[in-house]
């Protein structure tokens, strides 16, 4: 890693004199300065590339979204029976008898009797106001939207309670689309929704357990991205190491490494992962990242090997060699700085591969599901059938889109890098 930074510094500051040994303090300070300047120069060049800029901004947004936002938004792990597969924007509403339509807020409800159904979002929402009003509890029975909830509505229609906390989906199902004609007449005549926005909305609806999907999306990216980063870093480092060793030493070692690479390349990677994941049954997602990294280096290794081979033949390396400079010097000072953008680009592509593979495994149910990631959301969306439920689009679509846009941002960014640096240096992966 250190050599990377060093290489980047030398590339970023072409006017820095490598040969003279400056004051150590200045030397140390010059490194962050050069990185900063390189970054500014890079963003400047990126601005000209619209799609690359979109990718870059997208990645920054994803970083904020998945690493910073979870500190402020709590993961919703509370199953709510009335909110199962709630549509986008659904929330708890305040239902009152039409004579009491003036009751809108919790303050208005002071001294009144308010009904809530247990095992739903209602009790939590009303808990802070328990001192000022009387709570009438109803039991949720085993049947979905069963008699308990209906009983509470009937009580409300008969003015036995003043108000009722009820989920918007229940309102549509039980009040507006009531199949029982008697109840329909009763509800239609007596119940009104005085406050359609009493509770906070579920931006992306709720899942099969009535939990808020939006919070899951916010929390679901971190482990995935970290795992993909681990996979990407490991495979890039191995590829860089083996690729440059093979190219610089040549001979038997080169042949052996190339043969090994070709062998691994011939094995279909994803089935191998599937079989290994099926055999090992991981309990930690990060181990999966390590495995993905260990299997993912061959294409990049081959590309880096040919890069180093061709760079070796370039004039400036020839000059360094004829000056009698050491192999280390040639590798780290002459060759690596010229490859750094190439390696960066392929590093990003290897992240997309790692992402692809781990989520694929999760969707198949072969990867750990103890972290509630986008992949796991997909897995549950599939295994619990919400995929095929027209109301459940959000549960499957949110992770699908989150993954899709993340991958697209990575690809756009990497392609912009390709265009900004040398477009001819593209690996045939």
């Amino acid at each position: 890693m250190a050599c990377w930074i060093r290489a980047f510094v030398f590339q970023a500051s072409d006017d820095m004199d490598i040969q003279t040994a400056p004051n150590p303090l200045i030397a140390i300070l010059s490194i962050p300065w050069a990185i900063l300047r390189g970054a500014f120069r890079f963003v400047g060049r990126l601005r000209a590339n619209t799609s690359g800029m979109i990718g870059f901004i997208g990645l920054v947004a994803y970083f904020i979204f998945t690493f910073i936002l979870p500190r402020f938004i709590e993961f919703d792990n509370e199953p709510n029976l009335d909110e199962i597969v709630g549509p986008i924007g659904s929330r708890i509403q305040l239902a009152v008898h039409q004579d009491n339509a003036q009751l809108v807020t919790f303050e208005d409800l002071a001294g009144k009797t308010v009904g809530v159904v247990d095992q739903t979002g209602g009790p939590d929402l009303i808990a802070p106001y328990a001192d000022t009003l009387t709570i009438e509890k109803y039991r949720w029975t085993s049947r979905r939207a069963g008699p308990g909830l209906e009983a509470s509505l009937i009580d409300l229609a008969n003015k036995e309670i003043d108000a009722l906390l009820v989920f918007s989906k229940t309102v549509t199902e039980l009040i507006h689309n009531q199949e029982n004609p008697e109840l329909r007449a009763l509800f239609d005549d007596n119940i009104v929704i005085s406050n359609p926005a009493l509770g906070p909305p579920h931006l992306l609806g709720t899942d099969t357990q009535g939990r808020d999907i939006a919070t899951h999306v916010v929390h679901g990216g971190r482990v995935l991205i970290l795992t993909a980063l681990i996979g990407g870093v490991i495979s890039t480092v191995i590829a860089l190491f083996l690729g440059s060793i093979a190219a610089l030493t040549g001979g038997v070692l080169d042949s052996a490494l190339t043969a090994l690479t070709n062998l691994i390349l011939a094995i279909p990677r994803f089935p191998l992962l599937v079989v290994m994941a099926g055999l090992i049954r991981f309990d930690n997602t990060l181990y999966l990242g390590v495995l993905i990294g260990l299997l993912g280096w061959p294409p990049l290794m081959r590309a880096i090997r040919s890069q180093v081979l061709s760079l070796r033949e370039r004039d400036f390396v020839e000059v360094a060699r004829s000056l009698g400079l050491s192999t280390n010097h040639i590798m780290f000072r002459e060759i690596l700085p010229n490859m750094i953008s190439y390696v960066m680009i392929n590093f990003i592509f290897s992240i997309t591969f790692a992402m692809y593979e781990q989520i694929g495994l999760v969707v198949l149910g072969l990867a750990p599901i103890n972290d509630y990631t986008w992949g796991v959301m997909l897995y549950f969306g599939r295994s619990r059938g919400t995929l095929y439920n027209p109301d459940g689009a959000s549960m499957a679509l949110s992770p699908v889109l989150a993954i899709a846009f993340f991958q697209v941002c990575l690809v756009l960014f990497a392609r912009a890098l390709e265009e900004i640096f040398d477009p001819r240096l593209r690996a045939a992966v």
Binding site: S51, L248, T249, G250, G251, V252, N262, L263, A266, I267, P268, R269, F270, P271, V274, V275, M276, G278, L279, I280, R312, R321, G324, L325, S326, T327, N328, I330, T352, M355, Y356, I359, G360, V363, L364, G365, L366, L378, R382, L387, Y388, N389, P390, A393, A396, L397, V400, I403, A404, Q407, V408, C409, L410, V411, L412, R415, P423, R426, A428, V429
Partner: protein, 361 residues
């Protein structure tokens, strides 16, 4: 290290003659490619053997443990039983087992299924593999042809609105994982827009029909394969487009295209034989990489669409821990990739005369 050692070559002492003979044989392209393919298959067979038998927590131990706890029989009995289903002699040494495994392989004997005893794994594979080959092959063929056409169009109209929108589209197509495309097709087209009934399209054909060369059956085969094929096409098309575009742009700068125009050749002739053919050449090598990738990713796609191909079979085997089927399918998948590489290597010379010389002559 001395800088000279960058070019160091190993000094070969006495074995010169043998090594030279081998070198000479390996210089022949066809021989080399064949040897490589066979070595690869052997290596993968060995790897599979080690994976299943020698890895910590290997399936044989797991299975023995399972039978021990479930049925309360002696270890030896349990071991014999597992050995029987894995088709190996429990008293043999590891080396013997390994040699047995290899000789069985040579006879295409992949053992019997653990979970459904009496079923030959090779028969099951023969039943499922053709469907995958059909879907993957169709998908790759369509996307390759489309990609070449669109990529050339992008190169000819580069920097136009068309080029920019197609290249953005290609970023989406390559960036978004193929199973995500599959899910999007199901959720958006199948469920939300209700364009087709996802449930009816499960399997590889309508089971009420008798397989045969009749219109209804063929239609049903295509209908059931349509969604996987569409997914393969979408997921691979972007890559072809982009590669073809950059390849075409390179070729358009070549002298011979310029000269061909100066020679007053007809446009169609230049586009097909001078630009298209040369630009598509590097893509054929990438086609073999794509075969491996798409075949491999078929596991998820077939699972998502419930398409009964080899990937579906592999996944079923994994969920019920049918280890013999697992190793068999994995080996066959690898062989499929190796053979498609071999085929491509051997036929590439037909497309590019420059390679032909170093090979046959």
């Amino acid at each position: 290290m001395e800088s000279r050692s960058l070019n160091a070559r190993p000094v070969t002492p006495g074995y010169n003659k043998i090594i030279d003979a081998i070198r000479k044989a390996l210089k022949n392209y066809t021989v080399r490619v064949f040897v490589q393919a066979i070595l690869t298959i052997w290596a993968v067979a060995t790897l599979t053997f080690l994976l299943v038998r020698e890895m910590p927590g290997n399936p044989i131990d797991v299975l023995i443990e399972q039978i021990l706890t479930q049925e309360g029989i002696s270890y030896q009995e349990a071991y014999d039983r597992v050995a029987a289903s894995f088709n190996f002699d429990p008293n043999a040494s590891v080396l013997d087992l390994y040699l047995d495994w290899l000789t069985d392989l040579l006879r295409f004997d992949l053992g019997t299924s653990i979970t459904s005893p009496g079923t030959e794994v090779i028969d099951e594979i023969a039943r499922f593999l053709p469907w995958t080959v059909f879907a993957v092959g169709m998908g790759l063929l369509i996307s390759f042809v489309l990609g070449i056409i669109l990529g050339m169009t992008m190169a000819y109209y580069r920097n136009s609105f068309l080029d920019h929108s197609l290249s953005l589209l290609s970023s989406f197509m390559t960036g978004v994982p193929n199973y995500i495309w599959g899910l999007l097709i199901i959720i958006v087209l199948g469920i939300q827009l209700n364009l087709f009934n996802v449930g009816e399209l499960r399997g590889t054909y309508d089971i009420s029909l008798v397989p045969g060369l009749n219109a209804a059956f063929v239609l049903s085969v295509f209908k059931h394969a349509a969604l996987p094929i569409a997914t393969y096409v979408i997921a691979t098309l972007g890559g072809w487009m982009l590669n073809m575009k950059s390849s075409t742009m390179g070729v358009l700068n070549e002298d011979y295209v310029n000269v061909a125009e100066a020679r007053g050749l007809k446009d169609n002739r230049i586009i097909t034989s001078y630009v298209g053919r040369n630009a598509a050449l590097p893509l054929f090598t990438q086609l073999t990489i794509a075969v491996g990738f798409v075949l491999g990713s078929g596991v998820v796609i077939e699972e998502i669409f419930v398409y009964w191909g080899i990937g579906h079979y592999l996944f079923q085997a994994i969920t019920v821990r049918d280890y013999t089927s697992m190793q068999g399918v994995f080996l066959i998948l690898t062989m499929a990739v190796v053979f498609s590489n071999l085929f491509a290597d051997l036929t590439y010379g037909l497309l590019d005369p420059r390679v032909r010389v170093s090979g046959e002559r």
